[in-house]
């Protein structure tokens, strides 16, 4: 180093030089003005010395002092101090407690950056979404604050325990936000939630996202193996759950995960008491208003949902406010949702569909009604008691209410609009449902975890559309059908691979380069994996899954239609067809069924049924497997890979 200076010399003399230099100055009395030369001389070292004077005093060369001083000054230098000048003057006085260094205040943990780094949007499309107003600076808590200020006494939530106004709801969220922040949670930290549709879920959701955190949902039926995979993959820092759910000791399992996974730091269980090692949610509710230094903004990720994993391990889907809340905001006018609506979701909030309709109602300033867990009587009773005006449900929810005679037994007259999604919607079922509520409108919505509400029927469309399709693309989105062979766009009315592109479409899977490599086309279309038809008016009808397609001797067919026919057999409850390897034809169809009763069904009986229905022989199953229970996702989709594993 220059002039014989060593790091050791800097370490040894640095602080002494710094203190003697003009960096630190002390004056006693007023010696210069009084021309008290004796005092001036005596105080030279205190008033600050030049490098030459320091060198003379401590026995270094002046040049060495300069080097030592400069390096020590650098050690002391904080380059962001000048930002403070932006907080001075213009009637303001310096208040230390009101200032925080933005570099420190806006810091995000390295581990928490993982989800932010997964946000790989197509830049040209992003620019378009911003220009068109599909993406704006909006957040979940921004809407809550807006309603708490503008309509504080409006009912935000109706739940089994009572009602909450927007003001009361905001207060609860503020309290929990403080507690979660005191645990050290911050921007982009992932907090998993495994709760039913109860008030604690919603308050937790808003509190997690209030400080910029990301909520990961875990479906209620998930057990050890699924939970370990999900928490391990997301690297969630905290989980909020029930102490126990039915026979499942949730808290104990989560505490076990805490030991097993280095990333999980906090297990929070609802209620006032928690087992050892866990934290009681109620103890985190602290009076006051949270001081959030790094508040969320529209481009931030706030949700981490996982695909149901019908064909592979679940994939993490990060969603930004602009994706998800934008999708909801744009849906409000399409559904004519207003602040006077009361919305109920039969779907769980752990699933995109449940959160989607909650968001739509929130954006409109409407009331959300919580149904903790679906049962046909509970849904029917709650709709009647709360006079729900909009209902978001799946075909199985409706079917079970109809079959139990609940729609006749309860007053559904308040329901002006019902939206169906989640699984195939038989037209007869929808027609029956609609006929039970005179004057009501119905619709179908198609969406995936990756797309949010991609297409849906409008509540002012033609009456027959909802019976056969999931409507046209949502505002901000586009859908198209392409050939499975060469990816060429197909004309209207042709079945093919469904692709979707738009402002609600996710930015790519979390930490999954293999899945991401095949998820999008170069120009930003997401390959949904669904088979569908789009009619001349842009209305979408799903016909099956591309990965379910069976290729028998090179002739491909979609088994969904065949499965629909097989479940009409009086002995069959559920049916699913999967490809089985064949040395001659490549693939043949194997049909798995569960039975309605004790009486067994044969392959010949099923083939006879299909023959009666004029189904070509190449689509008939060539093997039958009767099983006790069909492997299903929490959203009641058949996990076909589990069936294939049985072959």
């Amino acid at each position: 180093m220059a002039y014989g200076v060593t790091q050791q010399m800097i370490d040894t003399y640095g602080e002494t030089v710094f203190k003697l230099s003009l960096n630190k100055q002390t004056r006693r009395g007023d010696a210069v003005r009084l021309l008290d030369f004796e005092a001036i001389e005596a105080a030279r070292a205190e008033t600050g010395l030049t490098d030459e004077e320091i060198a003379e005093r401590i026995g270094l060369l002046p040049e060495q002092v300069s080097v030592v001083r400069v390096f020590t000054e650098r050690k002391h230098h904080k380059i962001d101090q000048h930002r403070r000048i932006f907080h001075l003057g213009g009637g303001k006085r310096w208040k230390k407690e009101e200032y925080s260094n933005p570099v420190e205040r806006l810091h995000i943990r390295k581990e928490a950056m993982m989800i932010r780094e997964a946000l790989n949007f197509n830049p040209e499309l992003a620019q378009r979404y911003i220009e068109k107003g599909y993406w704006i600076n909006e957040t979940l808590n921004g809407y809550l604050l807006e309603h708490a200020i503008n309509t504080p006494d409006a009912t935000a939530i109706i739940h089994p325990g009572g009602e909450l106004t927007y003001k009361e709801f905001k207060t609860q969220v503020d309290q929990l936000t403080i507690g979660l922040m005191e645990l050290g949670l911050g921007k982009s930290d992932i907090v998993a939630v495994q709760l039913p549709n109860i008030l604690d879920f919603i308050v937790s959701y808003f509190a997690i996202t209030a400080f910029g955190g990301v909520m990961q949902t875990i479906h209620m039926p998930y057990r050890d193996a699924d939970i370990e995979f999900l928490l391990g993959h997301s690297k969630a820092r905290a989980v909020i759950c029930l102490p126990a759910f039915k026979e499942f000791p949730t808290a104990d399992v989560m505490l076990g995960m805490k030991e097993k996974l280095g990333s999980l730091e906090h297990v929070i269980t609802i209620g006032n008491n928690a087992s050892e090692g866990a934290v009681a949610l109620e103890s985190l509710k602290i009076e006051g208003e949270p001081n959030i230094g790094n508040p969320p903004v529209g481009s931030d990720p706030f949700l981490l949902l996982y695909t149901s994993g019908t064909t592979s391990n679940p994939k993490g889907v990060p969603l930004t406010y602009q994706n998800m809340i934008g999708n909801a905001r744009l849906s409000v006018p399409e559904f004519h949702m207003t602040a006077s609506d009361r919305n109920i979701s039969a779907a769980p909030f752990s699933h995109l569909y449940g959160l989607y309709n909650f968001h739509v109602a929130l954006c409109a300033g409407a009331t959300n009604i919580l149904l903790p867990a679906f049962s046909p009587p509970d849904l029917a009773r709650t709709i009647e008691e709360t006079k729900a005006t909009t209902v978001f449900l799946g075909p199985p929810h409706a079917a079970s209410m109809i079959n139990a005679g609940l729609m006749e037994a309860h007053d559904f007259s308040s329901v002006r609009f019902s939206m169906f999604s989640g699984s195939a919607c038989p037209p007869q079922l929808l027609e029956t449902y609609r006929s039970n509520i005179p004057g009501t409108k119905i619709g179908q919505l198609w969406g995936m975890t990756e797309t949010a509400g991609a297409t849906y029927c409008r509540d002012d469309g033609a009456e027959d559309i909802p019976l056969r399709s999931a409507g046209p693309a949502a505002p901000g989105n586009e859908v198209r059908i392409v050939s499975g062979e060469d990816g060429a766009p197909l004309p209207a009315g042709t079945e093919g691979d469904l692709q979707v592109r738009g402002s609600s479409v996710f930015p790519g899977y979390l930490d999954n380069p293999e899945a991401n490599a095949d998820a999008f086309t170069e120009d930003g279309w997401f390959k949904s994996g669904d088979l569908a038809i789009i009619d001349d008016d842009g209305n979408l009808t799903l016909t099956g899954r591309t990965k379910d397609v069976i290729s028998r001797g090179g002739v491909k067919f979609n088994p969904a239609d065949i499965e629909d026919l097989i479940i009409q057999h009086p002995k069959v409850e559920q049916a699913a067809m999967v490809p089985m390897p064949d040395p001659v034809l490549g693939e043949k169809a194997c049909c798995f069924v569960t039975l309605l009763g004790e009486e067994k069904v044969t392959l010949d009986e099923l083939c006879s049924l299909l023959d009666d229905k004029k189904i070509p022989k190449n689509k008939w199953p060539e093997r039958l497997e009767i099983i006790d229970e069909m492997p299903l996702t929490p959203t009641r989709k058949v996990i076909k890979r589990r069936l294939i594993e049985k072959l």
Partner: protein
């Protein structure tokens, strides 16, 4: 050899000159005193060996309005030091031209051999010894009972003029500051310093007993030039490309480069080609300082009006023909 002049009259003439130019305060510092107090190599004789007199001017800060503005605005409009420099620069020429003695405007800069904290000459020391300011609790910023905070500039001359005395009293601390200090242990300047660089004590006599000033803490907030080497070193140290980019392109750092480019003049500044080809810029009558000064505007306006009439007549003629 220069002509003989009455030193008192010369002093008054110099004072009159600088006050006409906008200075608020004027005084002369005793050279011998300065030599005794300044660190070795930092006295007037080190700069101009035959210095006989040190003339000091004080110029007021910004307008009263500027003190009500936010700090980043005040940083631009409250800083009138260049006005003090201009006056002192003129005074050096004035003394040479009028009285024939060699003079220099004292460079108000840091000593390039000694770094950012050591000035070539202490203008504060000059002004204090000349009696136009006294050291305050606020990091030894000089204060004057009539003019408050001023910016100072100095002239060294080989002409011997009668020096002034330091101020008899120090206006700092103000009685209200003493009261606040007694109540809270802090004066207002200590209390509201954003980097807490000031501390000290006031004695029972109401005078400053001890003043501590952390010049480094003050400078790292207010003197951005100190940040440049740190910014560059941070850039080299940064592992992450975004951090590296922000070290150079963060908004506050971009301002540093902007300031540098202004200081570098046309080399790093705008090319102005757009303005070179702009007809408004190039033909605007009052853009020309000569025209502004010579009452040319009316002539230009009249000439343009005449040209328009002629053009219209031509157009009509073409139509008629």
């Amino acid at each position: 050899m220069a002509e003989e002049f009455n030193p008192e009259e010369v002093k008054k003439a110099c004072e009159s000159y600088v006050k006409k130019k906008g200075a608020l305060a004027f005084g002369l510092a005793n050279v011998e005193t300065l030599e005794r107090i300044a660190p070795p190599g930092c006295g007037p004789l080190s700069m101009l060996p035959k210095t006989k007199s040190v003339l000091c001017v004080g110029v007021g800060g910004g307008t009263r309005g500027s003190w009500a503005a936010d700090a980043k605005t005040l940083a631009y409009i409250g800083d009138t030091e260049t006005m003090a420099y201009r006056i002192a620069y003129g005074l050096a020429f004035y003394i040479e031209a009028k009285f024939g003695y060699r003079s220099i405007f004292v460079p108000p800069d840091m000593n390039p051999e000694k770094g950012a904290r050591v000035p070539m000459q202490s203008l504060k020391l000059h002004a204090e010894v000349a009696g136009i300011g006294a050291r305050s609790m606020a990091g030894d910023i000089l204060l004057h009972p009539e003019f408050g905070m001023m910016y100072y500039a100095s002239v060294f001359t080989e002409m011997e003029l009668p020096p002034d005395e330091p101020m008899a009293d120090n206006p700092c601390p103000h009685p209200s500051c003493v009261t606040l200090y007694e109540q809270s242990g802090q004066t207002p300047c200590m209390r509201f310093c954003p980097v807490e660089c000031l501390s000290g004590s006031i004695g029972e006599d109401g005078k400053v007993e001890e003043m501590n000033f952390d010049a480094h803490a003050c400078a790292e907030m207010s003197q951005q030039y100190e940040a440049i080497p740190s910014v560059l070193l941070d850039t080299l140290d940064a592992k992450d490309p975004i951090e590296r980019g922000m070290a150079l392109h963060g908004p506050e750092n971009q301002v540093i480069w902007y300031k540098l480019s202004i200081g570098a003049g046309e080399l790093l500044s705008l090319c102005y080609e757009c303005m070179r080809v702009c007809p408004i810029t190039q033909t605007a009558p009052m853009a020309n300082p000569v025209a502004r000064g010579a009452g040319m505007r009316q002539k230009v306006v009249e000439a343009e009006a005449a040209a328009r009439v002629e053009h219209e007549a031509e157009q009509n003629g073409v139509k008629g023909g």
